[in-house]
Amino acid sequence: MDLFLQQLFGGLATGAIYASIALAVVMIYQAIDHFNFAQGEMAMFSTFIAWQLLDWGFPYWAAFFACIVISFLGGVAIERIVFKPIHNAPVLSHIIVFIALFSIFNSVAGFIWDYTIKAYPSPFPSETPFETTLIGMHQLGMIAIVLAMLGAIYVFFRFTSVGLAMRAAAANPVSARLVGVSVDWMLALGWGLAAAIGAVAGMLIAPIVFLEPNMMLGILLYGFAGAVVGGLTSPGGAVVGGFLVGVIENLASLVPFIGSELKLTVALVLIVGVLLVRPFGLFGRVVVNRV
């Protein structure tokens, strides 16, 4: 029982990692109707920027918010510079550019900051207020921040006209233009927001897994899994999905023949399984078009 609890909470802690990335994945999906395979690398790069700021002597929160702003602008710039010329190209061309961005960010980060791991500070105290070793203070704080981001995103999409316009631009760009939405800038805004969320995720993940150029390689897949399991159209679903993937993966390691050797395979089976039963994820909306 003790072990079960340990793994459950451990799963929640890892789940928070996946959830934060899943949130960024959903954000960009809302904007461009697509995955960004370079998402993890962008988050990693943002975290390096924050690390660099800290190294130059910035206080934690100054670096934190500066990094968010820089990442936002960077995201906007990527859309405006790299993707603008290929707006009308087929989807696969976009995927190739995602792959290109992936290798560029990974390589440049390694070139500037090299590949040895770096400790990244946590903004939270190291002591938990209550007597438990089940979950650390950083993990708790991370869960809180993820939920806060989720709330902010919910409000943004639900109650602001820009949020609404963003969803409209992604779902039906032609119609969106006809109601006066500048689709191009919505795309750029989506990129910026996704980059900013990714930056927060990166800065929260780095204290746990350590900062290095390849830190997101494994995490991104789980983040995708969380987003898909929860439903790509639902930020809340993505967060729940992220936690679910973390918990199930950890609990699966208790099953004797799976052990920790097949954790990744468990994630695979989970993705395919959920999609077979609910093609739009657990919380995703089913889109029905009547003619």
């Binding site: 010329p85 190739i96 290109a100 961005l101 560029i104 440049v108 070139f111 050797e261 097949l262 695979l268």
Partner: protein, 333 residues
């Protein structure tokens, strides 16, 4: 969207296009046969690998280009093909040339089976499921119960016989062997795409609902295409095992699947000859990037990719089509 369907383009350009294509074909074949005598062993070895990648990309093309299903997981089928060959040669000492068809068969079954659940997935979701498959493949190959066959992390050495032709070196021999397999693969693909099956595949890609009402068994065709596509890629994997003479789980990471996708897009989606260009691209460009700067080789590769997408939005095949169309147009005015 520019030039989606090569068949349409052919009709637009008319007869001239066909004769141009014939010239390309003959010239290509002559060059392909002459190449091993123009270069030293290592380059021939590289060309062989480019051909192998071309076959793998061709397989992916059947699925994505002609049937509209995405896959980021073809490294898995490449691995299954490679391991089929390696295990047959390692355990039962089967001669290498007898392992190609079994590798294709095993991959066909694997692809078909994976294609069944994939039926319910579309676009992104399918891409993700296959991406997960690619990431899990090395892990599964190392898994204890299968490790006795796969050699686990250590991998398996493969010892194919030497060149049976006295005036051909091993490299030249492997090249011709691969070339023959590749020619067969391309011919099969060509006939498949232009026949009834191909029309059904393309119909499903362009309008799944309409093709259903036309009486095409979309589910069957989609799974079949998945199987056929996997079989092509599996043949490539088998050849790779023979030529590299070694298989290990780390050879088949998701980066390989990503490479295939890159080759597909750069070569030209829905273009059969484009696969050859794709194979050359994914083999040569990383090497060039590495020569330009070791530390930043991936970044340079990334820039190459973006450049390729900008310059050739419809892949190399699209570019060639555009150029030949211009050339064909000129004399007639």
């Amino acid at each position: 969207m520019p030039t989606r369907n090569p068949a349409d383009m052919l009709q637009i350009a008319g007869i001239e296009m066909v004769s141009w294509r014939r010239i390309w074909l003959v010239a290509g074949l002559v060059i392909a046969i002459a190449l091993p005598f123009l270069f030293e062993g290592f380059t021939v070895f590289q060309l062989t690998r480019a051909l192998i990648y071309a076959i793998a990309i061709l397989g992916l093309n059947l699925l994505t280009g002609f049937n509209g299903q995405f896959s980021l997981g073809h490294s898995a089928f490449f691995a299954i093909g490679a391991y089929t060959t390696a295990i047959m040669m390692d355990r039962w000492e089967v001669a290498y040339y007898w392992t190609i068809l079994p590798a294709a068969a095993v991959c066909f079954v694997a692809g078909f089976l994976f294609g069944l659940p994939a039926l319910r997935l579309e676009g992104l979701y399918l891409a993700l499921a296959t991406f997960a498959l690619a990431t899990a493949t090395p892990q599964i190959l190392k898994y204890e119960p299968v490790a006795k066959f796969t050699g686990g992390v250590q991998g398996l050495d493969v010892f194919p016989d030497d060149s049976p032709v006295s005036f051909l070196s091993n490299d030249q021999w492997w090249y011709y062997f691969t070339l023959v397999v590749a020619l067969i693969a391309f011919l099969v693909a060509w006939n498949l795409v232009r026949g009834r099956t191909g029309r059904a595949m393309i119909a499903i890609r362009d309008n799944p609902i309409a093709s259903k009402t036309m009486g095409i068994n979309t589910a069957l065709y989609k799974s079949l295409t998945f199987g056929v596509s996997a079989a092509f890629t599996g043949v490539a994997g088998a050849l790779e095992a023979i030529v590299i003479q070694f298989v290990a789980p780390d050879s088949f990471t998701f980066l390989l699947a990503v490479s295939f996708l890159v080759g597909l897009v750069v070569g030209g989606i829905g273009s059969i000859p484009g696969a050859i260009f794709g194979g050359l691209f994914i083999l040569l460009i990383p090497n060039w990037a590495d020569q330009i700067s070791q530390g930043l080789s991936w970044a340079i590769y990334g820039l190459f990719l973006i450049g390729a997408v900008y310059v050739m939005p419809a892949g190399a095949a699209g570019l060639v089509r555009l150029v030949t169309m211009r050339l064909a147009k000129k004399p007639s005015g």
